[in-house]
Amino acid sequence: MKVKIKSWTAVGTWEWVSNDDTCGICRMSFEACCPDCRTPGDDCPLVWGECTHCFHIHCIVKWLQSSQQQQLCPMCRQEWKFKE
């Protein structure tokens, strides 16, 4: 007997490659979206800082805009720089 696969529709879930599960700002899962968005993933991506912390892009941008003085990472208080 021989089995030959012709086609396959597989099912999987996508996830972000990060060392944390939830966004330190909004406390939502990274695989969910920030409170301002409706759909996750492409529409509400993550960004990494040089300090290796990551957030929903909308969350960190909002955070940086709201803080008057220096641009600090809300987790480690180091200066926030977007990782290239």
């Binding site: 030959k4 396959w8 759909t39």
Partner: protein
């Protein structure tokens, strides 16, 4: 004249035994008065009058076995009349002597009481016989003026025919009444006996009429036919048979009408279940009930009956949830017609709601029915898209206060009348479970099942219903569902990219691979079924994941290896090749048999890193298709002589959910949706060219079909005679 002579004289007179001798009477009475015996005489006489009526006069009249009502009535009249005639001189005499007496009343009363209490049975019997025949004769006479005796089917059913005789006798009764100074009523004949008989016959006729006109016939309103019959035929008969009798007013039209309505409602109560099931065809009969019920006393009984019918016929384990729901939905519609205040609806459906709440699959059935086109009522309701309360206020304003009616007393005071009247079917269904959240959760589960069991990426159908539900329940509650649908459409696009990426990097897979890449947070938890896939499949997953990671930076895929569908060709040792579409777990199992022809369940479970129970459940698939056989308990090997089950068609797995339709059926369903749109367009616009239909379908139906496909579909409709095409434009066939 001595005392004894005087006494006997008066006594004989009262018994109507002797002809009147006025001079003698006067002497006799004067003698009695002189001896101060008048009172005693009067009392004794009254007693004797009574005795003679009771013991001889009436028994003599009633002993005639062949008597008919007219003869009997005539005899009673004559007898009573001669009694009165006999007493009359005595009355005058007593009056002139200024004696107090009640002789006239005594005679009359005795006749009445005696007839009523001792001879009622006989009179009733004769009256029934007589008036029943009279009814037939009269109705015959009313329908055709022809000579009754010549008619072949004589209504009196007597041989030889007596119709004529009956008519004669009827006028004889009438004559008797006219001639006599005593009326039937005074004798207690009409008021108490004949009236009952006439009413009894009238009731029987009404019942018979209601039953022959209305039984099992629900599709038109019948109450007007019935009242017309009552006014013309029945009242006509009564007028005839009671003409000039003092009782002609006694059987009032109102009383008969009441009985007609009563009979009608009672008949309908016996048929309430078939009527509900027939809805909407039975709508006219509910309209009839609506107009008639307030004029009867049967509202309570109606409620009790409906509840009993539900309990005995619908709310038990032998009835499927879908059938109960169907009955419930039809009840909602029907009882709204019956009682627009919806109070009856609310009361009678309460046990149905409770029962449905106790069934586990209720919400699932509601949702499934809701998004199933074949359940027209619900789909229609959904398409109407009336969300929560928008149209209600307008309705109420339109009605105006003049038409306002208070809610019936049995209405639940906790529910506002407006709310009760305005709830639509879908809200009522959703409310079976109390909250819309629960309902939406179940929809979410069901949608996930449907999307995962039907992996063809054809979401048009789902999106259509999703959009309708969104209008009804609002976006926020359905957000998860929206993301799920988006996952499926996004995956479709992403698959193309990833397969291009695989091609570019020379990583082409040995088979066509597609994936659904889902946002885990928005999907229900997946069922678990551990499995170690064959290397060939694992390699494919790895390559696919790599390509994904290239396309979507910083993201990766986590596979649910047991979910999905694989299409495999199996070449048997006998040389046959069979194609199967089945789950990856099944494929893993059968591929293990390429390496080794026989396994125990335990060995296989260890090899595939799963449990024995998973193997046992799954392996039956291959057993039933004749690929494997169980040679001893829990030991399987390849079935060498599989020629017995040679199948050439691809075999699709029976998925747990019935939602799996073949792609052919799926396409057909989509076209059915389109057909309703096309039908609507052509109804509104009369005629349209092909391109216009196509572009409108794209906008309104979200249709994913080509102009060519549409043209093919329309030519099929032309062949079916639904559509005609002339000069490049399409029209509905008239």
């Amino acid at each position: 004249m001595d005392l004894e002579e005087a006494w006997n004289f008066v006594e004989n007179l009262l018994q109507a035994k002797e002809s009147l001798n006025l001079a003698g009477l006067k002497m006799a009475v004067e003698k009695l008065v002189a001896d101060d015996l008048l009172d005693a005489v009067y009392e004794t006489l009254s007693y004797q009058i009574e005795q003679s009526i009771v013991n001889s006069v009436l028994p003599y009249i009633f002993q005639d076995a062949n008597c008919t009502l007219p003869i009997l009535v005539t005899k009673i009249y004559n007898q009573a009349k001669s009694h009165r005639d006999a007493v009359q001189p005595l009355i005058l005499l007593l009056d002139s002597l200024k004696c107090r007496h009640e002789l006239a009343e005594a005679v009359q009363r005795t006749y009445r009481i005696e007839i009523e209490f001792s001879h009622q049975h006989k009179i009733t019997e004769l009256a029934e016989e007589f008036y029943s025949k009279a009814y037939l004769v009269c109705s015959k006479e009313m329908t055709s003026a022809e000579d009754l005796e010549e008619s072949n089917c004589c209504p009196c059913e007597l041989s030889p025919c007596q119709c004529h005789l009956i008519l004669l006798q009827m006028s004889a009764i009438t004559e008797t009444c006219k001639q006599n100074f005593l009326s039937l009523q005074e004798l207690g004949l009409f008021q108490n006996i004949i009236e009952d008989v006439l009413f009894g016959i009238a009731r029987a006729k009404i019942k018979e009429r209601v039953s022959t006109t209305c039984a099992s016939s629900y599709s038109k309103t019948l109450i007007n036919d019935l009242t017309e019959w009552l006014n013309n035929d029945l009242i006509g008969w009564l007028d005839k048979v009671t003409v000039n009798l003092d009782g002609s007013e006694i059987l009032s039209k109102e009383r008969l009408m009441y009985y007609l309505y009563d009979s009608f409602v009672k008949l309908r109560l016996d048929e309430i279940l078939p009527m509900i099931i027939d809805y909407p065809d039975s709508r006219p009969s509910f309209e009839d009930l609506h107009s008639v019920l307030p004029q009867t006393n049967l509202r309570k009984q109606l409620i009790v009956t409906i509840k009993q019918v539900y309990e005995s016929r619908i709310l038990h384990p032998g009835v499927t949830t879908t059938d109960i729901l169907t009955a419930y939905i039809q009840s909602i519609q029907a009882f709204r017609v019956l009682d627009p205040s919806c109070v009856i609806l609310e009361i009678v459906t309460e046990p149905v709601k409770l029962y449905l709440r106790s069934r586990e699959d209720t919400v699932r059935c509601i949702v499934a029915n809701l998004i199933d086109e074949s359940c027209e009522v619900l789909s229609d309701e959904l398409t109407k898209g009336t969300s929560d309360q928008d149209t209600v206020d307008e309705d109420n304003i339109g009605e105006g206060w003049q038409h306002w009616l208070p809610d019936p007393v049995d209405a639940n005071p906790d529910v506002s009348s407006k709310a009760r009247r305005s709830t639509d079917i879908i809200n009522m269904l959703v409310n079976i479970y109390g909250t819309k959240e629960l309902f939406i959760k179940e929809y979410w589960n069901l949608l996930a099942d449907r999307l995962l069991s039907n992996l063809s990426y054809t979401t048009m159908w789902e999106i259509r219903y999703f959009e309708l539900l969104k209008i009804r329940f609002g976006e926020t509650d359905l957000l998860k569902c929206e993301v799920m649908l988006k996952d499926v459409t996004d995956s479709k696009r992403l698959n193309t990219w990833i397969n291009e990426e695989l091609q570019k990097t020379n990583n082409e897979l040995p088979f066509q691979m597609n994936a659904l890449m889902l946002s885990a947070q928005y999907w229900p938890t997946f069922r678990e079924e551990p499995i170690e896939l064959p290397a060939e499949m694992k390699d494919a997953l790895t390559s696919y994941t790599k390509a994904y990671e290239t396309t979507k930076v910083n993201r990766t895929l986590k596979w649910q290896p047991h979910i999905g569908q694989v299409e495999v060709d199996i070449e048997m040792d006998s040389g046959n090749t069979v194609t199967f579409k089945t789950s990856p777990v099944n494929v893993a199992i059968i591929m293990a048999f390429q390496e080794q022809g026989m396994y125990t369940v335990e060995e296989l479970a260890e090899k595939l890193q799963t449990s024995a129970s998973v193997i046992r459940r799954r392996i039956s698939y291959w057993q039933s298709h004749g690929v494997l056989k169980e040679i001893s308990h829990d030991v399987y090997e390849l079935n060498k002589d599989s020629s017995t089950s040679m199948i050439h068609e691809p075999i699709e797995e029976e998925v747990l959910e019935s939602a799996t339709a073949s792609s052919e059926q799926q396409k057909e369903q989509e076209f059915q949706v389109m057909w309703s749109y096309i039908n609507g367009m052509l109804t509104n616009s009369d005629s349209l060219p092909l391109e216009r239909i196509h572009s409108m379908l794209k906008i309104f139906a979200n249709a994913e079909c080509t102009v060519h496909e549409l043209e093919r579909f329309l030519s099929k409709k032309i062949r079916e005679g639904k559509v005609v095409c002339a000069a490049g434009v399409y029209k509905l066939a008239s």
